[in-house]
């Protein structure tokens, strides 16, 4: 099961290493990881997505809490979070295919970030599911490069992690 762990940490060197260590030593894979500062520049938020059972996630959550540089940890379930990811996709685009690609973009709410005679670079910020749909739709046009940021998430409502 996919789970989203949101971690508030001290914005310091070495912190990310300690956190990823906890996953790698248990031999489980991080599906996505996004780091950035919060409104408080001394605090960063790390959003981690893992695919594993509840007991494993519970243990990791406890181990994360033990790290001195970790301020707060919360595992968010699908229904209680707003998760977004940004994707940049560069596709082959000739004058003949350009319009079809633009139609897909409009339907998905994506934007054109860059254009060249032979390509289009598109950006979309959305849920991971919809990003996958977008990617599938573009595949027939031949994707030349793709980059995803990993999901960032906040709790729904007024809760603040």
């Amino acid at each position: 099961m996919k789970q989203t762990i949101s971690v508030l940490v001290e914005n310091r060197a070495g912190v990310l290493n300690r956190i990823t260590n906890l996953f790698s030593r248990r031999a489980f894979n991080i599906e996505s990881l996004a780091v950035g500062t919060t409104d408080d520049p001394t605090i960063s938020r790390i959003t981690i997505i893992v695919d594993s059972g509840n007991s494993v996630v519970e243990q990791v959550e406890k181990q994360l809490n033990k790290l001195v540089d970790v301020i707060k940890v919360r595992t968010l379930d699908e229904n209680s979070l707003i998760g977004r990811e940004l994707v940049l996709i560069k596709v082959n685009a000739t004058p003949k295919t350009r319009q079809d690609i633009m139609t897909i973009c409009e339907l998905m709410g994506a934007r054109v970030a860059d254009i060249s005679p032979t390509s289009l670079t598109l950006e979309l910020s959305d849920t991971p599911d919809r990003i996958e749909v977008f990617e599938d739709m573009l595949r027939p046009f031949s994707i030349k490069a793709l980059a995803r940021t990993g999901v960032i998430a906040l709790q729904k409502g007024s809760g603040n992690i």
């Binding site: 060197a13 070495g14 300690r18 809490n65 970790v70 707060k72």
Partner: protein
């Protein structure tokens, strides 16, 4: 004031009175600053790993944070095993390492290693100091983190230029405030009520006590709870010396290499109260099975231990001493355990009176330890190494009111002698005994130099079986095909080695004259080596 001086001044503010160390170029400024402070004792180890073990022995006996200090690169990597050993046994320790100049970090210059990165998985926390003005705060935080909550080693890596940097001014902070570090102290009152209720309903309750009881200094509370509620006690290896062997509620050590009586108690009990013990694989062989049979109460300062190896019906997170006191204040009921105690008592007596095998020309470790233990001081400190010698000692050495120090979590050979030296520094007047095998001793016997230099009185019992005994024992059983690579051929004449350090030795190879030899050994003024001839085929189950 320089960073180096600020470092030493900060250690003084933490009441540090001894450092175990090994100098090298990048730690020279700190060593130089230390020279000005004879009130801090210094032991020069013979390899850095042992600085960690000595600091560990010192910490366990003094109840203070142990401090070691080594140079960068190879000094730091040599210390790694010492740090990992301390981490696995939750020993409060501050390790200080020198580091190459900060502007050269990451260029693989001479004697540079990423030591904070290397120890991340087995240190409680670490700092790489980039500005000398941070030193007082970093030291204050390090000692606080090392000693509170679940204790553990903290590493401070100090580049040489930071040691040489002038501070604006030195001010030692009075308090720490780390927003991500707030260990729980008090147990939840509601949970404590549930525990009391569970005890009153139990017929065959059992306390399983571990090293966490020592770390919290909760020996008296543990004993009081057991006695007032009439609950028998088993211990893990780390908790072995919590109760005297002859205490009627003491049922011995659990685990793969433990006492039969303790393991029997564990499977038969109807309520298990784990106190400062983590139910690791060596202690509880089949947690799932035990779990199926009985409810468990888990009292531990580390919330991550709860549910890690076994699920607890009633988790109680906080300082073990505080929680036990909270329980005692609730006037816990006397358990209806008379039959249960009778049943276990029979097992226990049979085990304590167990006959050991005899062999001409040899002594049996169990026999030596049983007789030695009776002769030791009430509060003797025994440090034991790893291997058969450890198992025999934990199983059969009679405990009084002293301490047994061993590397329980990591099982690090070569722990005993340096740990004993650290213990001696902390408690110079207590009887101090080492038990080791001829393999382990060859990993740490270079530290006889520290013993000799300080004129210490440490009595070393060496079980010479001429093999890596425990591995030999494992290899002689399925699925292996007999011993290989365990013969200690080429070992030195241990009496000559000891003599080279000015330490006399005795030999025990006959059980009839053993008592006399033991008396002579213990009566000797100063350090002494007792070489016990043990047959290589001896098994810990004999």
């Amino acid at each position: 004031m320089t960073g180096a001086q600020a470092l030493i001044q900060s250690l003084l503010c933490e009441q540090v009175d001894h450092i175990f160390g090994y100098a090298g170029a990048t730690i020279c400024p700190a060593v130089d600053a230390l020279k000005e402070h004879p009130e801090i004792g210094y032991t020069l180890v013979r390899t850095e790993q042992n600085a960690g073990h000595m600091a560990s022995g010192y910490a366990r006996i003094s109840g203070k944070v142990g401090v070691c200090m080594v140079t960068s690169g190879p000094g730091a990597t040599n210390l790694i095993t010492g740090i990992a050993t301390a981490f696995m046994d939750s020993i409060p320790m501050v390790a200080i390492t020198g580091q190459v100049p900060s502007h050269l970090l990451g260029r693989d210059i001479f004697q540079e290693v990423d030591i904070t990165g290397a120890v991340a998985p087995f240190s409680k926390h670490s700092y790489l100091v980039k500005d000398a003005n941070d030193i007082p705060r970093v030291v204050k935080e390090s000692f606080h983190i090392a000693a509170t909550g679940r204790p553990g080693p903290v590493l401070i890596d100090v580049p040489i230029d930071v040691q040489n940097q002038e501070l604006k001014r030195f001010e030692y902070p009075e308090t720490v405030n780390i927003r991500g570090y707030k260990p729980s102290v008090k147990g939840n009152e509601l949970q404590i009520k549930r525990v009391i209720e569970a005890i009153s309903n139990a017929k065959q309750p059992l306390i399983c006590a571990g090293g966490g009881v020592w770390l919290a200094g909760a020996q008296a509370e543990l004993l009081e709870l057991a006695e007032r509620c009439a609950i028998p006690v088993v211990k893990t290896m780390m908790g072995i010396s919590l109760m005297p062997t002859d205490h009627p509620l003491n049922m011995g050590m659990i685990g793969a290499h433990g006492n039969a009586c303790a393991n029997k108690a564990l499977v038969k009990s109807d309520l298990l109260i784990m106190v400062g013990a983590r139910a690791a694989d060596r202690a509880i062989i089949n947690p799932a099975e035990i779990q199926r049979r009985m409810p468990m109460i888990h009292i531990d300062v580390d919330p991550a231990e709860i549910g890690k190896n076994m699920q607890a019906q009633i988790p109680l997170v906080g300082n073990v001493k505080v929680i036990l006191r909270q329980m005692l204040d609730k006037d816990p009921p006397v358990a209806d355990s008379a039959e249960w105690l009778d049943f276990l008592g029979d097992y226990r007596r049979a085990e304590l009176n167990r006959q050991f095998p005899r062999r001409e020309g040899y002594v049996f470790p169990g026999t030596v330890l049983r007789r030695l233990g009776r002769k030791l001081d009430e509060d003797a400190i025994v440090s034991v190494d790893v291997g058969q010698n450890q198992i025999f000692t934990c199983k059969y050495l009679p405990q009084k009111h002293g301490r047994l120090l061993t590397s329980g979590g990591l099982g690090t050979m070569g722990y005993a002698l340096p740990a004993a030296i650290g213990a001696k520094v902390a408690a110079p007047d207590k009887q101090n005994i080492v038990v080791c095998g001829d393999g382990s001793f060859q990993m740490d016997m270079n530290e006889l130099a520290a013993v000799r230099h300080a004129g210490m009185d440490i009595k070393i019992v060496l079980f010479r079986n001429r093999v890596l005994g425990l591995v030999n024992q494992i290899q002689r059983a399925a699925p292996y095909h007999g011993p290989f690579g365990v013969d200690l051929d080429g070992s030195p004449d241990f009496a000559a080695i000891a003599a080279a350090y000015g330490i006399p030795s005795l030999t025990a190879d006959d059980e009839d004259s053993l008592d006399g030899v033991l008396d002579q050994f213990l009566a000797h003024e100063g350090s002494c080596l007792l070489i016990c001839e043990v047959h290589p085929d001896v098994n810990t189950t004999d």
